[in-house]
Amino acid sequence: MKGSLGMKQQPDDNYESESSTNSDNSAETDDGDNNEEVLKTDLVLSGSPGSISSIGNSGVSQKELEEENTLLKKRNASMEKILQSNSAYFGKNKCRIKYRLSSQDQLNRRTAVLFIKCDMFPRIQILPEMWYLYSPLVGMTVCGKIMSLLTIPEGYTAKSYWENVFCAIFSEAWAVVRSNYMVTVSATFLGTLLHVIHC
């Protein structure tokens, strides 16, 4: 980059004052001027019409910035809605690849696995048919019992966390515990048969 693209533009007043201080500070170095150019071009290049980086353009008032800010906020809100409405956003295959889970999700997963192994599976072996529906009743439903043990990460409500993230994680953990039991039992069956044959 370094201005070789020939995209130098007139910086606005605020930027000029900042850049002047920068150039003062970097006067001791040999390539102080180049640094200044890089700063300018970076800001200009990252800009696109209608985005917040139009700081680089001259004559941007406080009002326009505020408008852009509200637009961005609206966009964020709509993204969150999409995230919440799409139930298949967080599928089983994503849960199995553990590095894709955030640290809080992994902690919650561990808690859930321990709870399933030690407490839940010995009591309820077949989940009720509509177990995946969210319900806030603590201790009355599968969801309520599990969610009472977890820490909900920032930016999620309990409902959105269950529906978008944790339902799939729980399902996967449950399937692991169940299939482990099946494998153990089938191995035992094979063992007892062999025992009968050898006797």
């Binding site: 192994k117 009591r123 077949i126 039991y181 094979l190 048969l193």
Partner: protein, 198 residues
């Protein structure tokens, strides 16, 4: 283990006699079943922990009616599939040939392997669910019969001493070795002089 209809533990399931308690031979099959198929639901490690924490109780007191019902359901549903798998394994053929081998048997109360399930569907059929409910009711009523269940736990103590004798001896040997190893160390080495620190 199964009867003509493919059912197991009929001896215990249909125990109606309120006045007569079962003998050891009557419930031996049930105890074996609990040992081999019900305890894995709890996990062997967890069960050992529980036994250590509750030395005055037996496994029979810990086991729930639903867990026995589930073990029975899984066994009855799958034993034919397992037998078929074992028969295929015993043919001494390669893995690729094993996969190509035709399988006739299907799980009785579960969807066939390879069936595409709906999101978060469990796979048990409605028949299986009903059967699980009836089984858990049967074992719950047996468990509520306090005399019967106490008698079972007495038999479990005998079963442990007879059948699990070898395991117990092994464990005892390991514990002895550990104790002997600890005995080699000089206690003086680990003595902390609190006064010196002051």
């Amino acid at each position: 283990m199964t009867d003509d209809h493919g059912l197991i533990l009929i001896n215990v399931r249909e125990w109606d006699d309120e006045y007569k308690l079962p003998e050891y031979e009557d419930v031996l099959e049930f105890l074996k079943f609990v040992h081999n198929y019900v305890i894995p639901i709890y996990g062997t490690k967890n069960m050992r922990k529980w036994i250590k924490n509750n030395p005055d109780k037996t496994v029979i007191t810990k086991v729930t009616a639903t867990s026995i019902a589930y073990a029975v359901l899984v066994y009855e549903s799958r034993y034919k599939v397992w037998e078929e798998n074992i028969a295929i394994k015993n043919k001494n053929i390669t893995r690729a040939e094993m996969r190509r081998e035709k399988r006739v048997e299907l799980p009785m109360y579960h969807t066939a392997p390879g069936t595409k399930l709906k999101l978060y569907e469990v796979g048990w059929t409605s028949e299986g669910r009903d059967y699980y409910a009836t089984l858990s009711n049967i074992f719950q009523s047996l468990k509520s019969n306090q005399k019967f269940w106490d008698n079972l736990s007495e038999h479990w103590v005998r079963y442990e001493s007879e059948v699990l004798k070898e395991d117990l001896i092994k464990e005892a040997k390991i514990q002895k070795e550990v104790v002997l190893d600890v005995g080699h160390y000089d206690e003086q080495q680990y003595k902390v002089d609190f006064m010196a620190e002051v």
